[in-house]
């Protein structure tokens, strides 16, 4: 029996590869994919020559917005994205850690002004790149770790 998992090619859509093993579920959550929208293939914890173990996600009929790419870069910085058109890889790139993240994540500090309801204010973070990136709130200065961000994104879309 072959050791490989056979997954059929997609016609149009995206393939997110080199996701650290175990992170694919989080990415599906933040992309708001429940499994009922269209065809999705999820491969988890498979061998990777570069990473040891990795996850792969294939989603048919879907593209990624700029904000979604930023979020994926934050929680899965090694990911590569393939845009597939007519069964061919039309575009392939590594996600880039942004320098600023605006609006898409809430600051974890309950006393931060950006969490005050009914104020015309958008959250804004500076990404501090290091061993593991940290988001520093531009308003209250609090550090938001990637675990904080992940927890928030998962609970929001779940």
């Amino acid at each position: 029996m072959s050791k490989e998992l056979i997954i059929s090619k997609i016609r149009e859509g995206i393939v997110i590869d080199h996701v650290p093993a175990g992170r694919a579920m989080v990415i599906l959550k933040i992309l708001n994919i429940s499994g009922l929208e269209g065809r999705v293939a999820l491969v988890m914890n498979v061998e990777s020559s570069k990473m040891g173990r990795k996850d792969i996600i294939k989603i048919e009929g879907r593209d990624l917005t700029h904000d979604e790419l930023n979020l994926i870069a934050l929680i899965s910085p090694t990911a590569t994205v393939n845009r597939v058109r007519n069964y061919e890889v039309a575009e392939k790139f590594k996600v880039q850690l942004p320098t600023k993240v605006r609006g898409i994540v809430r600051c974890k500090n309950p006393k931060c002004i950006t969490n005050k309801p009914r104020e015309p204010i958008t959250s804004s973070f500076t990404v501090i790149k290091g061993g593991q990136a940290v988001l520093k709130c531009d308003y209250c200065g609090a550090y938001n770790s990637l675990e904080d961000v992940e927890k928030q994104l998962v609970s929001r879309s779940g």
Partner: protein, 324 residues
């Protein structure tokens, strides 16, 4: 040492350009050493007028927007503007204003912006002053936001050190008490990063400075040591800055009582201190500094509080560009 001399020479020759003009004073990182030394020199000038009246701010209005209680900061800002010949409007307490009807911060600031030349804000939420400054055209001065910033208190504290020692460079400065939640610690460490100082952080383990502040200190290459007892550090200090430990930070009242006892400044705990040690405290004091200590040559916290007026006079004058 050579570095220190060069810095002091640079301070002396600092140009007359007023970079404070129209500036929002939100965090202690908004200005550099030259600007701060310019402010100190202006404050020293203002000390001559702290019991008289000037007319440099004639016709100017400062709005006080204090969303949180304050005595010293509020009154010293108000006194400073009145001594400069300007006027003050005050939003009053939150309960007595439109905020009680549910008005948001943005709308309140827009209104004050249309009435006043300068807005001074204190708010319980962190980042509120920065947000206010984004909305208002008039300059905004942060008089304390949440546990994050209190830049004018930090200016005043560094100014007191400068007045006491004639320099800030070379000082060995201890901070004792709640170094995690006291907002002035954050701002004062930021101000002190402009100088060549050695810091001693003296606190119970649960109230040590936050990772954000420790990273800042490391990033700026500041020299510092952590201690869990004053005795370890007291002999080498030029300045001891005491802040209160608040009961609400401790889920266990027994633990609070134990910690409070060991971080209380008494005559006994000052044994071994240098004669020239200066003790500062942002006030109000509850019982973290024994009343007996007030009588020693070390106590400078009341003088520190008094310097709040000339320092804030200088700041208002520079930000609004008052000419004598």
């Amino acid at each position: 040492m050579v570095g220190i001399l060069i810095n002091e020479l640079l301070d002396e020759f600092e140009g007359s350009l007023n970079t404070w003009l129209g500036m929002d004073v939100i965090s202690a990182l908004d200005w550099g050493r030259e600007e701060l030394m310019g402010l100190f020199r202006e404050a020293q000038e203002m000390e001559k007028h702290s019991k008289s009246s000037l007319s440099v701010m004639n016709g100017k209005i400062m709005a006080l927007a204090f969303f949180e209680p304050s005595t010293r900061t509020r009154l010293s800002f108000e006194t400073a503007m009145l001594r400069l010949g300007g006027r003050v409007i005050d939003m009053g307490s939150v309960e007595a204003s439109s905020l009680a009807k549910g008005e948001n911060l943005a709308d309140t600031i827009r209104m004050l912006d249309s009435y006043a030349d300068l807005i001074v804000i204190r708010h319980e939420l962190e980042g509120a002053a920065k947000f206010a400054a984004e909305i208002a055209d008039a300059p905004v001065i942060n008089a304390g936001d949440g546990a994050q910033n209190h830049p004018t208190q930090a200016m005043l504290d560094a100014y007191t050190m400068w007045r006491e020692f004639g320099r800030v460079d070379g000082l060995s400065i201890g901070f004792m008490g709640d170094l995690r939640y006291a907002r002035v610690i954050n701002s004062l460490v930021q101000v002190l990063s402009l100088f060549d100082v050695k810091l001693h952080m003296i606190s119970p383990p649960s109230l040590q400075p936050r990772a954000e502040l420790l990273d800042f200190m490391r990033g700026r290459g500041m020299r510092f040591e952590m201690h869990d007892h004053l005795e370890e550090a007291v002999a080498g200090l030029d300045v001891l800055y005491v802040v209160r430990i608040q009961k609400e930070r401790f889920p266990d009242p027994m633990e609070y009582e134990r910690v409070r006892g060991s971080f209380r400044l008494t005559m006994e705990s000052l044994r071994g201190a240098r004669d020239s040690l200066v003790i500062l405290h942002p006030l109000p004091r509850v019982d973290e500094v024994d009343f007996e200590v007030d009588q020693t040559r070390h106590a400078r916290y009341f003088k520190q509080a008094a310097l709040g007026v000339p320092l804030r006079m200088a700041l208002i004058k520079l930000v609004l560009g008052g000419v004598e």
